[in-house]
Assembly symmetry: D3
């Protein structure tokens, strides 16, 4: 049943508006048990000259990039071992933690650490979930299974993993990784 | 800058409206880089007789319970080993997977399995994240650290974990758990 | 797709609001080829103190009675030959015209005229249509078939008729009647 | 007093919007006894990318043609005996009924039937009324007087008629006609 | 033509809403040359739980007293020489200036100063104008004519005056007075 | 907290909209003790074809010129003794009154009268206040101090003044002036 009207200043792209419609639809359904069909979203765009808060016109910042896309691009760069490209996607204060690593700040440290763990690893994605924190960071979860080769060349696959990212202003500022690699090595 | 107007049929509680305001604020900030202060939400309530879709009045279902609260309650019951209480919180088709368990459908099976793993375990929460899927399920993530005792009585703590829940109509329908227990056992 | 918001001053009944929702749904569909399910109506009620036009508060008149109900009541009274009751439903300047009568102003004149036409007549309704004219009158059409007895006692039925009413302020101000009685008498 | 806001997706013509304003004004006045001057209509147009229902963007169908214009064009074609042109204006399942004809499905059948009734007939219109049914059909009433020549060459005029049309997707799907021709022939 | 919708949190009195409607009507007419009749104001009240800015509910402060009424009450007290009552209506930092006085901070100083000017003075009001400054103060102008007695007992009247007040939170914080008393004394 | 939505027909300039936002912000703050930051204004523009009142489309008149600018221009022309230019800024029925002049209708009369009062006079502005009357006139106050030369060549300055203007359709229709010149001449 809910109808949502969003008023923004002119200038968002069709893709931005589309993302806004989708996140507002989902948000209201977290509380109201309406099927998606019962949720309508309308975005009203006002001219910059027709918007004032605090007796001042405002210049809207461009929309944030889709944090899920940011995470996908980072994961693709890492999987391809394009470390330079991946590094450009990191924001200030970046920190990551993998099972057993403790906090790491440089992608190289992760790669060093991983050397003894597996020759390579490929992610098969089951799903991504994105939401906004109350702060500035967007949070993106991705989960699925890992396949690859152990250091001894044996293949593995189907190992569950989940990553949690914080994305601030389109840049990755935090990555936390959990997976069943240790579990699997037990059973090796 | 964004102003969000939500139109719903009369009858939501103050707490429901409060939750709606919050999730709509967060949702819009996933796309628009506005500080929270620049986001205004207004909920307009119309009488049931003043709402029609498809030339029919509608009766709004009561708001969904807060899925984060549902997950907290379930985790508390499990931690207290109040299995009967926990079972009442499960929805149809419930399935859970812990590191190395494969899919389990009964809480008892988990408890059996865990016996050889630890004597007891306590969760310290670092944070919860909740969002709505495009389907009927709400998704709740919780993460933090585990402390407890290994089967041999040795204490452990600080082991990272993350749980992903699906909550449908207020009931837990899926739980996926990752943690560093196997990793830690390696280092024992 | 259309969403209609109607703003009125507080004080309309649920039935009034229900009628408003329905007529607005229908109206928009006269132009936009949306299925009814795609049309949403929201009625916002503002306090009398929160409405001003021309720098003056306004006192909304009560809703008009449903003109279709007014016509139904009038037709029922006429069919039951409760002329006094029917007369109370007439507005200033009432005029009616039946096939061959020319304009009549008094119900008695119609009854006199009808005496030679049929002993009695009963209407079976196929449908009512109501709309607002650009003036003050609502227009109601009703159509269906007549059954009854000719002056010689022979029964008739299935004779098509249509009535057009003008209803002003809830009172009948004009009735125009067409039917196939003359046609049928030809075939008698 | 009422203010009506209509939200539609961008793309309707000025004429469409004008018709929407007019029908919404009339609709609300069927219930609320406001003079036209007290009724304000505002049409808000949102970009297609700024409209979502059921988490899907929608493509609005073009506005329906004005059903009154459709009826006028059909009546003009019939009066001019341009049967081919008239036939193109008919929708699937077309049926018409004139006094004494029973249901007819082909324009030719009507013309055959009318041959014995009058040499020709011309309509003088007193008024048209259009409204939307709860289904897909628009309903158009037109009424006025007939003039023409009887089969014997005698002229007639001033004979009351009323037509009821159903117009679906801009095509005529039903015509019901009542008039006083039989009545007049009695008095011939 | 303009329609103004004001959204406020529930809890304003009818008088507050009435004042809001009036000032909004006037404000828009400062720019748009619409006759008052063409300006419609609607005040929508939302529950406190249905309003959020910056992800926080807000508690609206009570409406400000009408600054024109505050000025009228102050002027009445001063004219009646009810200095204690008048003093209670003064806000922090109160300052006043009359022709030739320079800035004064205490009502007594004004009274001392006036002693040599006139025995008493009475104001006949021609009009009040009130507006909001961009700061916290409302500004009220009042103008008209003075009558009274010169120190020598001669009567005077018809002397033009104008007062400008600043009213902050309902209290008088500034009064500036101009009049033609000196002009008149010249012509005495 | 207040959010103001203004609906106007398309066609106002950015400057018009900016002025509308500002006056609406100020207006609401005359009643609601909200800091400016808590007041949001949104101007929605509808196509002329999407606006109807009284079942008629309307053609909005262009925005009124800013009355404060009109007053500033008039005062500048008068100060520069560009009487022809000043005269073009006067509306029908123009009347002005200065201390001791009584009502004057022609700028020349003022200049004649002033000759014996001062050689020239220059205004230093402390502030302008503008508001809309309930009638057609905007009201503009300006105040500050006068400097110049007395007829005998002595310089003066710091003499307080206030002017009240009525501006109708962008033209000055009334000017009332008060100042302390007579007061100062006393003290000369």
């Amino acid at each position: 049943m809910p109808v949502i009207e969003l008023h923004v200043i002119d200038g968002y792209t069709d893709d931005d508006k589309s993302r806004l419609c989708a996140v507002l639809t989902d948000a209201v359904r977290l509380v109201v048990p309406a099927p998606p069909d019962a949720v309508t979203v309308l975005i009203h765009e006002v001219a910059a000259a027709g918007y004032m808060r605090g007796r001042q016109h405002r210049t809207p910042a461009p929309a944030l990039p889709d944090p899920t896309q940011a995470v996908r691009a980072f994961l693709a760069a890492m999987e391809a071992r394009e470390i330079d490209r991946a590094r450009e996607m990191l924001g200030a204060g970046f920190v990551m933690e993998f099972p057993g690593t403790g906090p790491l700040h440089r992608l190289e440290d992760l790669i060093d650490w991983a050397k003894d763990r597996y020759r390579f690893v490929t992610k098969t994605y089951e799903g991504f979930d994105a939401l906004q924190s109350q702060g500035d960071a967007a949070i993106v979860y991705c989960r699925g299974t890992l396949s690859g080769e152990w250091p001894n060349g044996t293949a593995f696959d189907g190992i569950r993993f989940i990553d949690r990212f914080e994305v601030t202003g389109g840049l990755i500022t935090k990555q936390d990784v959990w997976n069943d690699i240790a579990e699997m090595k037990d059973t090796k």
